[in-house]
Amino acid sequence: MTERKSKKILLQTHNLVKKFGGLTAVKDVSLDVKAGEIVALIGPNGAGKTTFFNCLNQVTVPTSGAVTFADQSLVSVVSPATKLLVLRLSQVFAGLSLLWLPLVLGVVWPEAFFRLEAVIALSSLTLFRIYLLRPLSRFRPWSRLLLIIFMLVDIVCGAVWLARSAEFSEISFFGLFPFYPLLVPGAIILIAGALTLLVMFNLPRVREAFGRYLRADTITRLGMGRTFQNIRLFSSLSALDNVKLGRHCRTKANFFGTVFCLPQARREEQDSAEKAAECLRFVGLGDQLLTRAGALPYGDQRRLEIARALATEPRLLLLDEPAAGMNPTESRELITLVRRISRAGIAILIIEHDMKVIMNLADRIFVLDHGELIASGTPEAIRKDKKVIEAYLGAQ
């Protein structure tokens, strides 16, 4: 035990909670995985094991709690500064909605102000817009979208306003410019494009506030690979391509590099092909490079999934029931495979029902029941734990 403590903690969760509506699938789970360790997560069906996995790599966003992986916080916490920024933004849009619509209407259709129903419609529209702004400050998932829509509406309104005022009033904005027919659409395109791009890609704070701070793919790049309970291969691609996709996050050839056949891109492609083939050989599929993934036998598909995860060069590998549906021979092969992976210095967190596999492999075991962590410890300790036996066999 003392020897293990000296090792660095790779993954740590703290009071992780995931609720689906009224159902709490994961409840206050805190566990840790140290570098190079094999940790197992067991529990009866529907105990929330897979949900827990999904929360780890942000495929589902946890309701509350914290996840730290390789000294990085994975669950986004919105900083007060960002919160303020978003509040200001929503205030700007509220202000704009108060100003724009009447202004535009006044120019496009001046009689509007003398019509009862128009005024009613206008004010209710404005109110509705302000009402819609509320979720912005609450950081609802679709608030980013709302922001973009508002931005677009305002820009279009502005453009219409400019165009119409030039059309109807004596003062012509566009008469001054030689680029009259180009100006309005040009302005729309430029402003809309620039703002959208800004929000979408660049402004890190906005992104932090509106998107998930770390998406699954970023987490994979940080070094957390995973497999799935129900195999999720890219079934119409070849085995090699599947594993090459695992190399995706370690390569960086872009559009232009590919189209113009730049030497760097070509080298990278060759390199990733070699590495992928190596991974396939590692799991024992060296002779199946060009077979379609969907056409492989079941056990091979499982191994292909592992190879794909290995190709991402993980520091922690999450295996979700890798032995499900395997016969004893295959299970034994799997155990050796996992051992070999572990020997390469990769920490493993494994969900499994097959107790033989678990007891053979795990350094430590955590037990989940109804989303709660009910026990943890060495295999021997778990085997004797009363609560665990109860959970599996039902309370007497």
Partner: protein, 308 residues
Amino acid sequence: MLNTLLEQSSLFLQQLVNGVTLGSIYALIAVGYTMVYGVIQLINFAHGEIYMLGAFLSFSLVTGFFGIGLPFGLAVVIAVIFCALAGVFLDIVAYRPLRRAPRLAALITAIGMSIFLQNLALLIWGAQIKSFPRAVVPAFLFAPALQFGDVVISWLQVVILTTAVLLMVMLQLIVHYTRIGRAMRAIAQDKTAAALMGVNVDRVVSYTFALGSGLGGVAGILVGLYYNAVYPTMGYFAGIKAFAAAVLGGIGSIPGAILGGGILGLAEVFGGGYISSSYSDGIAYAVMILVILVKPTGLFGRFARDKA
């Protein structure tokens, strides 16, 4: 000043009446989309064409296009029945073989059917706009039913509104209080489970198509009379707008479709009347896109179509 206000308010009322009429027609069509989507999760693109067929069939039967001219009432009944059968036929020929195929395959097939039917109508009846001859349609329909000040409500509008309301009530009764309605709701919840419980899924789906298409046919006839125009592309625009209405109300929900149809009809008429007549078609598209982007479940939706 008072005069202007009076004029404005009667314009408002007139537009309101027009909007409600249009809305009830959209609701009739939208119900067809929503029912089919509820049962087999398919956007039946060809539904608008069924509606167009309804209008054309009643027109042809009444004017003797096929050789015999029938009295108006009989023609309407036959047209509606034929529409219902056409819906069932569509399901059996085009969609049923694809139940297990990817959803995109079924959607593409639906678009293909829509184009096929539209061009078939073009081939049979030609592109020209057809009008119901006055002589064969009951005359009272074109007379004003109510008139106060400048606001006129024609009998046709009254008929459209009452038909829509009656059919909707009937539909609700069917869905909630009959065996077949119960089966429909069961399939909407879980197709496999319903099949395991002994529900004949194919038959219920056929019934759904028949009901939805029948309503679509009724809408087609009413619109043909209302605008006095029947033409092959009429189903395309109406279909899209009704689909927007169904999405707005929450696809899969019948009350949602009715409400969505009403809102869209009003939005279109008021948008056309007050903002810009040329963009009134765009209102439907804009509403549809916004609803899908912001709240894909619509007003009453049960289907959360968002991923993960």
